[in-house]
Point group: D2
Chain length 346, copies 4
C-alpha cells in the first residue's frame, strides 16, 4: 500500500515525506483493528515532527508514516474485538492505550504508561491503511463522513479538552478569552459557546479570524495589533478580568497577558506552544491565577465531541487533498495558506 | 498608644520602623472592632514591605503601622456587631472585607473588591490596639493563647490554603512534594498529613529543616544540594512524578523543577515568591501540569485552621519579642537567625 | 401603605389575605434598604403558606405580609449602604442574610444562621414598600422591567440552582430528564440548554407544557399518561439512563421513577415537593444514584441568573395583577388557571 | 478441584452451599488469569445471595461457586497478559470489566456494561482456583498476606469508596457520622480518619463496636438505644448537623435520621441495605441534603486502598476457616457470632 513517510528530519517542507510502497499492516494482537483510511487531517504538529521538534520528547523510529487525525472504515479485526466489526466507520483516537495501567484505569487515557501515538511514535494514517486497536476507535454516527470528522481526532479533542476544563470555572456573566481563532481555537470557541453561558472574547490578529469568531458566537473580538487586550478585557469585565483564558497560540506575548487579563482564581490555559512563559512568581501569588497545561483530550472526550458533531454544534472547515499532495500541504501550512483544515484522503 | 510604623522604604532593616506614640483607633462604623493586640507575628513580607517591594501592587499610605498576623482581646465594638463582644479573644484575618461585592458573596473573601489589608494597606497590629471589623475576627477556642496562634493569621492560612487545594488532587499512594520546610512549609506539611494519605516528600537545603519535616511526618526528605530532586522523586513514585508540588520557596531553581517532578495532571503550587517561572509552553502541554498561584487563605479557611489548632494537629514554633524589638527581629530574619516564628507582644 | 396580609391560616383561597393599611417600613439598621415594589411574583408556596404548611418549619409571626419574589426601586437606604442608592432598580433575593455566620462566609447564603425570609418569616412584597437589606438586593441591568423579572427572585433561582448542580454531571451525549414543565421547570429547562450540551427530555402530562418544552429546546418530550417513561428514557439513552433528573413535581409517582431512569452515578434532584420518596436502600446501592434535595438558589446565583436574563437566554411568561387581586390569583392558581407566572404590581 | 457451590436458594444457612469436586478453570481469553485462592472473605452479601435476594437484580446461573473477596497467587495467565505473571500475589477486584465500554473508558469500572461479578454472576473464590482477568487483579505489596487482605476486595473498597466521596465534603471542624461500626463501618471510619480532619461520630448499638470505634479514632460515640442521636449530633455541631453521614446499616430507622442529623448541603450515604428510605420530598428541599447511594468501589480505588494497607493505616480483623466450614460460617454470621471478618482459606 502507499504511505507518506518521514525518513529524516528536515526544515524543508517541500520534501518532508516520501510516498512509499510498503506492506499492509497485519493484526497481530487479539484487540487489533485495521482501518482503511478515508480522511487524515494534516496538523501543524506534523510540520513540527518533520522538523524534529518532538525527537527529544518521544521515541520516533524512522522511517515512520505520519498522520494522527484519522477516520475511515474497519477492514480487519483481532479475534477478541467486540466494539466494532468490518464495515464500521470509525474515528481513531491517536493514542492506542493499554487499558491496564493505573492512568488507563482512572480514565486518564492520555497518561497511559504503555501507549503508542499514531504518526508520532508509530505509523499513522497518511496511508491506505492504519493499524490501531479496539481501545482507540469510536464508531461514527450515521451520516457522518470520515473525511469530514477526521481532524477532530486531534485538533478537535485538544480544543474540546481545554474548553471542558474551562467550563468548570465559568458562570453566567463571567468572561472567557480565546486567543487564536485558528484550527483549534475556532473549535474551542464553539465548545465554550455550547457548554457555557460565558461572555466569549476572541483575540486574533487576522481580520478574517475575528470575523469567523463573530460568526461562531463570540460576543466580543479584539485585534491585539490595534487594541490593548488588557484594557479591553478590563472594560468588558468591569475590572474583574476573564475567569478563563484559552491560549491557542502559546507565544511569549500571549502567555505574558495572563497577569493582566486573568481574574483572581482564574486559569490561563496553554494549548498552543512555541513560546515561553516568563513571569515572576509574585505575579501568580498576587493574582492567584494558574498557567494550566493542556494535552490532547482523552478517549471519552472524543466520544463527547462526536456527540457534539452529531448534534451539529461544531462546525469544522476542511479542504481535501490527495495523498501525494502531503508536501504541498506542509509547505502551504508553513506559509499560512491553508484555508480551514487540510484533510488527506488516501 | 505605641505603634511600630513605617515612614519611608529602606533596605536597612536596623531602622525600618520607628516606635511612635499615636492616637488610639476609634470605631467609626457599625461593624468596627478594636482589639488589644497580644500577639502579632513578624513575617518575611514585613521585610519586603519595608523594602518597598509591595508599593507597586497596592496603595500604601505612609506612615503606616505594620503587622498583619494579629490576635488579642476585643475592647470595643460598633453598635451592630453581634459576633463578638468586649473581652472575647480573637484571631484577626488580615483582610477586612466588605461583604457585599460578588467575591465576598461567593465566599472568595481574598478577592474582595473593597478590602483593607492590615499592615499592608492600612494600620496593622504592631501596636497596642488594632482597628478591624466584625467580618475579620474569629473567636478563639478556650485555652488558646493569642500570642501562640497569631502567626496563623497569615503564615498559617496561606500554607493551609495551598494544602487544601493540593489535597483535592491527592489519593492514597500519590506523592506530594513540599519544597521549603520553613515558617509556612512546616505548617503546610502538617496540613497535608492531617488531610490526606499521600506520601510526603520534603525538600530543603537545611539539615535542621529536613529533620523538622521528618518529625512532623514526612515520609521522605531530600537535600537538593547533594541529591537530584527529580531522580529521587522519580524513584519514589515509580516514574510517575508527584501528583502535587507545594513550592514554598518560589525561586528560579524551584519553579524549574516542575516539568521533571510533576505528574501528568498535577499542579506545581507557587506560594513562596522572589524568583521567576521560565518554561517553554510545550513543557506544560507535554506534561499537562499547572503552575498554580496561591494567595492568603480566605476567612472560612482561617476558621478551619483554628479547628485544626484546637485539635492540636498543627504545631507552630514561636519566639516572643517586645514591641520595641521590631527592627532587631527584622534584622535577624534577614540573616536567617529567627528560630521558628517571631511574635511581637505589644 | 397598602399590604396584602395573612391573619390566619386557611384552606379557603378566596379569602386568604386581606388588604390592610399599615405603617410604611423604616430603615433601622445601617444596611437597611426600602424598595418601592413594582412587581411581586405569586408562587405556589404562597398558597402553601396560607394553608399553614410552613408553620412547622419556620417561625411565622401573624399578621404577615406575603410576597417573596420582589423587584422595584430603592427609595431609602441605611447610612452605610454602598451597593445601591435611591432610584436604583433592583431585584430582591428573598433571604436577608447576616454576612457574618460561617455559611454566609462560605457563600452559602441560603444556610445563613441569622436570616429573614421575605413573606415567609418577615413581611414581604405584596405591599407598596418592602424593607430589606443591602445584602439582599441586586441592581438590575438597564432596560429590565422589575415587574418582568420579579419571579426570578424565587422561581427563577430555584430552577437555576438545581440546573447548575445538574450541569456538573452532564457531558455532551448525556441525557437530562426534566419532570414538570411549569413555572420552575420551564426555566430549569432553558438553563440546562444554555449551560450544557445534554440531550433534554421533558416529561409532562399536559400537552401545552410539552409544546412549551419543545419550543424552548427540549430534544424529546414524554407524556407519562400514554408512554412508559422508563422505557422511553432507556431507548433514548441506549439503556444507560439519564445522567441527571430534575424533578420539579416531587410527587410519589415522580420520585418513584428514579431507580428506573437514573443512570449509575446520577442524581434525581428533588425541587418540587408534596409527595414522598419511598425506596428500598438496596435500590440506591444497586444503582448508585442519589436523591438530591434542592433549596432556593443563593445570592450569587441570582446574580448569574440576572446575567442570563440580560443576554435574553431565559424566557419567563408573566401576567400582571393589581394588589387587590391577590385572592383571585391564589384561587386561580389553585385551579391551574394561571397562565405563566402571576405578578402582583402594587 | 473443590468449590463451595450454591445449587438452589434457601433460607437455611446450615446447608446453603455444597462442597463439590469440579473441573479446574481454564484460561480461554488472551487476558485470562487463574489465581490459586489463599483467602476468600465471607460477606453478609453471601448470605443474601443464598437467600435469593439478588436473583431479581442480576443473572445468576446455578450451580455457582460463591466468594467475591479473593486474594491468592497467580498460576496461569493468558498470552497477552502483561500486568502479572505466574507466582505473583494478587488481590482480585470482584468485577471483571471489559475495558472498552464508555464507563470503563471513564474509569467508572463498576458501571461496566459487560462485566462479570465473581461469586455473584459467575464462579467466585470459595474454591481452590479462581478464573478472572488481567483487568481485575492488583499485585500485592511485599509482605502482605493474601488471606489477611482478601476482604478488602469488597468490604474494604465499599467502605473506602463511600469514605472517599464523603471526604470531598469534609472540612476541618466539620462532623462526620458513621452509623454501624461493623465489618465495613470500622474500615470506613479509619479511612475518614486517614483522609480528613473531621470530627468522627460513631453510632452503634453494641458496646463493643463503640469501643472499637473509640480505639480506631472516633472522637465521639453514641449509643442510639440510650441517647437521642439527633440531639447529640446537634450538641456536637452547635446545631449545624453533620456535613456527611455514612450509613453502613441502611435500616428504616437509620435512614430516617437524615433530616435531623444532616447539615444543609450534606449527604446521607447509603451503604448498608435492608430497609427503606421513606421521607417527604419537602424534607430534602428544606434541608438540601441528599440520600447518596454507594456501590462497591472501582478498581483504581482498590489500588488506593492497597496503598493504605501498605502504610498500615487500616486495620482489619479476620478469622480464618477451612473451605468445608462455609455453611458454619454462614450460620454463625446469621446469628452475629463472627468476630471480625471470616476468611475462607481453601
Ligand atoms: Zn494534530
Ligand atoms: Zn495504559
Ligand atoms: Zn523566556
Ligand atoms: Zn505574613
Ligand atoms: Zn467584598
Ligand atoms: Zn416562590
Ligand atoms: Zn449568615
Ligand atoms: Zn461482600
Ligand atoms: Zn466495560
Ligand atoms: Zn417504607
Amino acid at each position: 500500500m502507499r504511505a507518506a513517510r518521514l525518513h529524516e528530519y528536515t526544515d524543508d517542507m517541500t520534501q518532508g515525506l516520501s510516498i512509499d510502497e510498503i506492506e499492509k499492516p497485519q493484526v497481530t494482537r487479539s484487540d487489533g483493528v485495521v482501518v482503511a483510511v478515508e480522511g487524515a487531517g494534516w496538523c501543524q504538529t506534523d510540520n513540527h515532527i518533520i522538523e524534529g521538534m518532538w525527537e527529544q520528547y518521544v521515541p520516533q523510529p524512522l522511517p515512520m508514516t505520519l498522520g494522527h487525525e484519522n477516520a475511515g472504515t474497519v477492514i480487519e479485526t483481532g479475534e477478541e474485538v467486540g466494539l466494532v466489526e468490518e464495515g464500521d466507520q470509525v474515528i481513531c483516537h491517536p493514542v492506542q492505550t493499554c487499558g491496564t495501567c493505573r492512568p488507563c484505569r482512572q480514565g486518564e487515557t492520555m497518561y497511559c504508561e504503555n501507549d503508542a501515538f499514531n504518526g508520532l511514535t508509530t505509523d499513522g494514517g497518511f496511508a491506505d491503511e492504519l493499524l490501531t486497536s479496539e481501545r482507540a476507535v469510536i464508531p461514527l454516527p450515521d451520516g457522518v463522513d470520515p473525511a469530514d470528522i477526521a481532524p477532530h481526532a486531534d485538533a478537535g479533542i485538544t480544543a474540546y479538552h481545554a474548553a471542558k476544563k474551562a467550563v468548570d470555572g465559568l458562570n453566567p456573566g463571567d468572561a472567557a478569552v480565546v486567543i487564536g481563532i485558528g484550527g483549534l481555537g475556532h473549535i474551542g470557541l464553539q465548545c465554550l459557546n455550547e457548554m457555557s453561558a460565558a461572555d466569549l472574547v476572541a483575540v486574533d490578529i487576522k481580520e478574517s479570524a475575528r470575523q469567523l469568531a463573530d460568526d461562531l458566537g463570540a460576543h466580543y473580538t479584539i485585534d491585539p495589533q490595534s487594541e490593548d487586550v488588557a484594557d479591553v478585557v478590563s472594560d468588558i469585565t468591569d475590572g474583574v478580568g476573564a475567569a478563563q483564558v484559552l491560549d491557542f497560540v502559546g507565544a511569549d506575548e500571549t502567555t505574558a497577558l495572563a497577569p493582566d487579563i486573568c481574574a483572581a482564581g482564574g486559569d490561563h490555559h496553554i494549548i498552543g506552544y512555541g513560546g515561553h512563559i516568563h513571569e515572576p512568581a509574585q505575579a501568580l501569588v498576587n493574582g492567584e491565577f494558574a498557567f494550566q497545561g493542556n494535552i490532547v483530550g482523552r478517549y471519552a472526550e472524543l466520544q463527547e465531541l462526536v456527540a457534539l458533531v452529531e448534534r451539529e454544534a461544531v462546525d469544522l472547515h476542511t479542504t481535501r487533498y490527495d495523498l501525494d499532495a502531503v508536501n504541498e500541504v506542509a509547505e502551504k501550512l508553513e506559509h499560512g495558506e491553508i484555508d480551514g483544515r487540510a484533510v488527506i484522503t488516501p
